[in-house]
Symmetry: C2
Subunit: 231 residues, 2 copies
């Protein structure tokens, strides 16, 4: 007698996520799952990182340039994909038509539309939502979240899963600090209590402030994976 155990939706997702992880390991591609509320600045951060990589390639050896692809997740439309496409990189748009998050299956289909063997890093810009995306493993190497200064310092306690799951927390729009009641000490304390090992960067993607440090840190992670695989 064969007994089948029905897998739940989340278990099914995890199986596909594991497959994605295997595919990415074989291709030596680092997958970054970028999550946040709507309007926290995910796309602007990606654009700024693409520009920093372009600049570095000009200054140093063009052949050592990171090859980057982007998967854009949106309920509908292609606005953000159009923005990053200007950097002449491969971009795939996922439209969820109502779904409030990306899942492993959607990302798998998008990965299959990217030239993985030619890439080192793929950004996945998740649907703007501080709740649902945190629950879904998409096979990423790193879960990262963006919090905008304008959203307030009280968010970690209100959306704890997102802050707990994200190994990288980017506080964006620090240029707005003088015009808000944002309390940085309070934020630091709240993040620390929920996710003590999180890597936190404080940046303004708009002005560029702090972006170079984030870029260096991320590039280190991408190259570590690449080297661990190829050596």
């Amino acid at each position: 007698m064969k007994v089948q155990v029905a897998t739940s939706l989340l278990e099914a997702n995890d199986i596909i996520a594991r497959d994605n992880r295997k595919l990415l390991a074989e291709s030596g591609v680092y997958l970054l799952n970028l999550m946040s509320s709507p309007g926290s600045g995910k796309t602007t951060i990606i654009e700024r990182l693409l520009r920093l990589e372009e600049e570095e390639a000009v200054l140093s050896d063009q052949s050592r340039r990171l090859k980057i692809g982007v998967i854009e997740g949106d309920i509908q439309g292609t606005k953000d994909a159009e923005r990053v496409e200007r950097y002449h990189i491969p971009v795939v748009q996922i439209n969820t038509y109502g779904a409030c998050h990306l899942d492993a299956r959607m990302v798998r289909a998008a990965l299959e539309d990217l030239p993985l063997s030619d890439l080192d890093l793929v950004f996945v810009e998740n649907v703007g939502n501080l709740v649902c995306p945190a629950e879904f493993d998409i096979g990423e190497d790193l879960k990262a979240m963006v919090l905008s200064v304008a959203e307030g310092d009280d968010k970690p306690e209100k959306y704890p899963l997102m802050f707990k799951e994200s190994a990288l927390i980017i506080l964006n729009k620090v240029d707005l600090l003088p015009y808000t009641d944002f309390n940085m000490d309070a934020l630091d304390e709240r993040v620390l209590s929920i996710n003590p090992s999180a890597q936190v960067f404080k940046v303004s993607a708009r002005t560029g402030d702090g972006m170079e440090d984030l870029y260096r840190w991320l590039k280190g992670r991408v190259l570590s994976k690449k080297c661990a695989i190829t050596t």
Copy 2:
């Protein structure tokens, strides 16, 4: 033979929402469902409206004061409920423990914990999320959404259901306009194309700018319902 048709989750929700609407009509209570991304300023807007009502009561006839209750929806915690409780009004906290929106059943249970016969207006502050709450009728008289200037002018096209469902659209944090790239004409055009009949108010809940107009408009709606019922 009796044939039962299984109702879907959304149909079941709509049945309870209809019951909520009936209960509210009988009690003469106006229910406002306030939705937005995390950190757009829902709680601060409610606080400012409570303060305006307090001031009006002092200036005019105390007996004509609107009696207001609040239902706070959060994944966890009671921070916002504690903030509005300072105004000495009845407050019920709903904790969804993971769910990304309120539904009619949750709101029903909260309504039963409020002294409805003593109230004129109940604010429901939904879970911070620009996607899921738009899909669920909770029996409200008015769906309202908040967009913060810091979130950007491109949001209507990316979260069209929320903008379409909301009869009242509050653009908050206009005090940040000088420090962002927000294009007001672009926003107006996008809102108009998705929801031409929406009532739009541009405010800063922090400075109070524009809040008096919003307060007057809302009070008019609440009193219209009350008078239609009692006469």
